[in-house]
């Protein structure tokens, strides 16, 4: 399990990041996932937030060895614009649907990619094989590989 700290890129001090527990890098897939998760202040009480070690430097170092594939997930609260919230990055174990997307074998990619509700937030998932960094255009946080 590898966890990354929340990466606060927003000046709004009232917002903090929430954490997501699962994190893993499947070496067999040689695929790194970037996930950006944002949370509103209503989620400040999330106990997971306090247990996040700071591994941003490690993440940056590993960027040099990144594989070609990258998947980005952006999660934002349903009620807030992305620019008002903080962000976090973490590595995440690939779910079977995501693996099928990467293998280009998924029968219904629209059920995985795009914008979907998850835990009262919105999860935006995009598969951009040629991307080095990804962000939402409206001042969203930058996601590295």
């Amino acid at each position: 399990m590898k966890k990354r700290s929340n990466n606060t890129l927003d000046s709004d001090a009232t917002k903090t990041s929430a954490a997501k527990p699962e994190a893993n890098t499947p070496d067999s897939e040689s695929t790194k996932i970037m996930e950006e998760e944002t949370a509103s202040s209503t989620l400040d009480s999330n106990p997971k937030t306090s247990v996040k070690p700071k591994t941003e430097a490690k993440a940056a170092a590993s960027d040099a060895r990144k594989p070609e594939k990258a998947k980005t997930e952006v999660k934002v609260p349903a009620s807030e614009p992305a620019k008002t919230i903080a962000a976090k990055k973490e590595e995440n174990k690939l779910d079977p649907d995501s693996i099928k997307i990467i293998e280009a074998k998924h029968h219904d990619p629209f059920s995985v990619l795009g914008r979907h509700p998850k835990n009262n937030q919105i999860l935006i998932k995009a598969y951009l094989p040629y991307a080095e960094t990804v962000r939402l255009s409206n001042n969203g946080p930058v996601l590295n590989r």
């Binding site: 280009a104 914008r115 080095e132 939402l136 255009s137 409206n138």
Partner: protein, 120 residues
């Protein structure tokens, strides 16, 4: 969140690409067309299948549709996605056998093909 969001990403050469997310758009081909086509009585299906300029919520792009009833997966590949079938897999429209995807930002003149993976 805005009605439709844009993704901005940087490639290895430092070039920034910005576009609306194709996977943020719902099905585009009306059920009416699917029904007529399924009956074999859609006399203007050439105006629907293939690649056609299309606009969704004021966002211009190209709607690609193709009939591939036995495919496990269909992607549109072209000069806009490095001919990489992983980039833009399409949506299957129910039992009609039609696959579609709306790609915002594309204009006339781009080259494309459909990449079809047969079901085993």
């Amino acid at each position: 969140m805005p009605e439709h969001y844009k993704l901005s990403w940087v490639d290895k050469n430092g070039y920034t690409h910005e576009n609306y997310d194709p996977y943020d758009f719902g099905p585009q081909l009306p059920a009416f067309d699917q029904h007529l086509f399924g009956e074999g009585k859609h006399w203007h299906i050439y105006q629907k299948l293939g690649g056609h300029l299309h606009s969704v919520d004021g966002i211009d792009g190209v709607l690609f549709t193709v009939w591939a009833p036995n495919a496990a997966r269909v992607s549109v590949v072209g000069d806009f996605n490095r001919w990489d079938g992983r980039c833009n897999p399409m949506r299957s429209l129910g039992g009609s056998g039609i696959w579609e995807i709306f790609i915002p930002g594309l204009k006339t003149g781009c080259l494309y093909k459909f990449e079809n993976i047969k079901s085993q």
